[in-house]
């Protein structure tokens, strides 16, 4: 649990306890209601910290609740209700906490299972993000040399902006620019595709995918979306050499993807010449 969650839990625990403490004895139904409200902080803590935390929260709430056994000189039924409430505290803490622990395990398991890539690379489905720099060509060459001749599938992903009107005085030259860029990129992608086919990857397994962006969206968002939608085993991309200032200014696609992609990421690092920045 982080600091904020701990503070919320403490506020809830003491909030319920203090309000309950000051309810006049005659308001029986309010007492019953507040008895149930003790469950809220217990469930909250269990949900964020697991079984141990849940049980600990239940014990703490029981101690806080204890004075009510002695203060309320009420019927036997009411005391039985108090005992039932205490049991409920512990059941809640235990089960909600266990649920949280097991779901966390499932997620970790899933992530670990995903990391197991067939050792030969056979049957792998690879997403190859292309920017229009010479480094993409170098990366394709490098990849072909290592993985060529295998039965793998590669999708070449190209992300482009379909609305460039804000870079031009009017719509016409903007559309012209987009279409010219499209033609140049198509030729570039074909070249890369041929390189991979020449390295022995089956022709029908090398695909080209163009993804259009409108508005200001980081390229890495689009790659992450594609990873989510497609069933890929590995992400391949080029890592341009950047200074700290460049990284600050322009961002860095591989760094973001290394942080956020849920599958293995293979980044091919370039020399400064190859890294001549993508546009």
């Amino acid at each position: 649990m982080n600091r904020k969650q701990i503070s919320i839990a403490i506020i809830m625990m003491f909030g319920v306890a203090v309000f309950h403490f000051f309810i006049p004895r005659d308001f029986l139904s309010l007492h019953i209601l507040f008895r149930l409200l003790y469950l809220v902080p217990i469930a909250y803590i269990a949900l964020y910290s697991g079984r141990k935390g849940g049980v600990l929260a239940a014990i703490t709430m029981t101690i806080i609740f204890l004075p009510h056994f002695f203060m309320d000189r009420t019927t036997q039924d009411f005391t039985a209700g108090n005992i039932a409430a205490v049991i409920l505290f512990h059941i809640t803490g235990f089960f909600v906490g266990s649920f949280r622990d097991s779901s966390e395990r499932v997620v970790i398991n899933q992530q670990q299972q995903h990391v197991v890539v067939p050792s030969t690379g056979e049957g792998c489905n690879i997403l190859f993000y292309i920017d229009n720099s010479p480094l993409s060509i170098a990366s394709a060459e490098w990849f072909g040399a290592y993985f060529g001749g295998r039965d793998i599938a590669v999708t070449l992903l190209w992300v482009y902006n379909e609305d460039e009107s804000e870079k031009f005085a009017s719509q016409e030259p903007a559309d012209e620019y987009v279409s010219q860029q499209g033609n140049e990129t198509a030729a570039f992608l074909d070249e890369l595709r041929d390189m991979l086919i020449d390295s022995g990857i089956p022709r029908e397994s090398v695909l080209i995918k163009n993804v259009a962006v409108t508005g200001k969206v980081p390229v890495s968002d689009k790659i992450l979306e594609e990873l989510k939608d497609g069933n890929y085993d590995l992400l391949l991309l080029s890592k341009h050499q950047q200074t700290k200032a460049q990284e600050f200014l322009f961002g860095d696609v591989p760094i973001r993807l290394l942080r956020e992609a849920s599958i293995p990421v293979l980044s091919v690092k370039g020399t400064p010449e190859e890294s001549s920045s993508p546009s």
């Binding site: 902006n161 804000e166 870079k167 005085a169 969206v217 700290k244 200032a245 600050f248 200014l249 322009f250």
Partner: protein, 325 residues
């Protein structure tokens, strides 16, 4: 709209029409449009009263002939009318050449997106008779942030104790509102402190000037964030602190030699970010926000909210040191 009708409206507004008055509905040649001329846009006549200048950079600034201050002759309201001046230019930022665009279409899109958002200037776009995209903007009465701070005639230490908290607190919401643009896939484009005006009527800070654009595919809001860092540094430092200023100031004689390259902006190597070195009373947390934009930074802010969360936390430390005397 004929000349007599326009002249009648001008008289109605308590003004005299000039003998050389031109009435135009094609605004392409904005250099030729002078105070006293009238632009008719969408059947609304606008009387030009002056060409605007960059706010707060002295009186000698060249006028911006494409930004006209006008009076709407139908309503009597003051309007800023921005005419089409598309520009593409390269500017060096941190030693890197960046393409910038001055795009009317982009400004029109932002105006549309911020309609009803009180922390931005308001307006709309119309096409003139030949299809130029003209933006008609409500005039904001009040000084720009740089003028407001620049007018504090006092020592930095006095400013720090008496004004800083109030100014920073006031401007926080305005700075944070940039994230509204970003969430909508838009950038401000020219985040500078002279593009924030203090609206005296509404008593709040508001953004102006949305026509700049840049294109960083992976870090689309990068320049906005850098601008944000600069603005916060300028507010905290009571203006930009450059190496030459520090060196020339006898007060900092003992400090100059202790300055390291990392104390300066990661992009502008002569802009001091580690202000605590020259103003040691600046609290650490506030200074740390600035250091995220300095050579010391190892992790960078990725969103406006991240900057503002830290800034708002840091404001807590100023509460103790402020007095309003």
């Amino acid at each position: 709209m004929n000349k007599n009708e326009v002249e009648a409206l001008i008289t109605e507004r308590g003004r005299k029409s000039s003998a050389r008055m031109r009435i135009v509905d094609d605004t392409s040649d904005f250099m030729a449009l002078n105070p006293g001329d009238v632009m008719v846009l969408n059947d609304n006549p606008y009387l030009i009263t002056r060409n605007e200048k960059e706010s707060g950079f002295g009186q000698d600034d060249d006028p911006k002939f494409w930004v006209k201050r006008t009076i709407s002759l139908l309503t009597g309201e003051i309007k800023i009318v921005k005419l089409v001046f598309f520009e593409e230019f390269v500017q060096e930022v941190g030693g890197y050449k960046i393409h910038f665009y001055r795009s009317p279409i982009k400004e029109a899109r932002v105006l549309e997106a911020v309609r009803g958002h009180s922390l931005f200037m308001h307006g709309f776009d119309v096409n003139d008779n030949v299809g130029n995209n003209v933006r008609i903007i409500d005039f904001i009465r009040g000084p720009s942030l740089n003028k407001l701070v620049g007018n504090c005639n006092m020592s930095h230490e006095h400013y720090f104790h008496s004004r800083l908290l109030e100014i920073l607190t006031g401007v926080c919401d305005c700075l944070q509102s940039l994230s509204y643009l970003h969430e909508n896939g838009l950038v401000h484009g020219d985040v500078r402190w002279d593009h924030i005006l203090y609206d005296r009527d509404q008593k709040r800070y508001r953004w102006i000037d949305f026509d700049y654009n840049y294109d960083f595919p992976e870090n689309p809001f990068g320049m906005d964030l850098i601008g944000l860092g600069e603005i916060i540094t300028c507010i905290v430092g009571m203006g930009g602190c450059f190496y030459s200023d520090v060196k020339a100031n006898p007060m900092f004689k003992g400090v100059v030699d202790q300055l390291q390259p990392e104390d300066f902006s990661i992009l502008e190597q002569n802009r001091l970010m580690n202000l605590r070195k020259i103003y040691p009373y600046i609290p650490e947390r506030l200074n740390n926000v600035l250091l995220h934009f300095s050579g010391y930074a190892t992790v960078f802010y990725e969103s406006v909210d991240e900057v503002l969360n830290d800034l708002r936390d840091a404001l807590g430390d100023l509460e103790g040191v402020s007095n309003t005397n």
